[in-house]
């Protein structure tokens, strides 16, 4: 899991089976100091995040497991809205 900031939205009418209705957001991964860490990515939103929100992201197969149904072609998912990072 890692931190990220939602920086945009993606509209895709034609999607793979299982992704119907999935909300796609552009997210900039961040480090512990909330500085950009690596390139932005597109993630499936599972917690109703909006642009500007600090979020928790899950990657790999665990991202698909965060979805319902879970057997979907997803490798990045937003699994939490971060209130505070205490470092």
């Amino acid at each position: 899991m890692y931190l990220g900031r939602v920086i945009g939205t993606v509209v895709a009418t034609k999607k793979a089976v299982g992704l119907e209705g999935a909300r796609l957001l552009v997210v900039q991964p961040l480090d512990h100091a909330q500085k950009p860490s690596g390139p932005p990515e597109v993630a499936v939103d599972r917690v109703s995040a909006s642009p500007g929100t600090l979020v928790m992201l899950e990657g790999s197969r665990e991202a698909a497991l965060a979805c319902d149904p879970w057997f979907v072609p997803v490798d990045s998912a937003i699994v939490g809205l971060v209130d505070e990072v205490d470092t």
Partner: protein
């Protein structure tokens, strides 16, 4: 498994149900000499005693995490499975 330093904690009220009641910590991977190695990330604490400044052992394999936590559908990939007392190299 990775040797990591706990940098702090994350508070998230709205989250996937799989994370309800679980402590989420920010960790920095370290090399064998405890120098930072790569990017910091978030891990769920299974040791229930790790805190800021602790040296911990983090498992980064979802299948193993699901085995340890006994749930085949958990979307959790990084789990703190130990608090390290000492590391000896060479």
């Amino acid at each position: 498994m990775n040797l990591c330093l706990v940098l702090g904690s994350v508070v998230a009220t709205e989250k996937h149900p799989a994370f309800a009641g679980r402590k989420i910590l920010v960790v920095q991977p370290l090399d064998e000499l405890k120098n930072p190695l790569g990017k910091s990330y978030l891990a769920v604490d299974h040791s229930s005693s790790a805190g800021q400044g602790d040296l911990v052992l983090v498992m980064n394999e979802g299948g193993g995490v699901r085995q340890v936590l006994g749930d085949k559908t958990l979307p959790i990939r990084s789990l703190i499975v130990g608090v390290v007392d000492a590391v000896t190299v060479g």
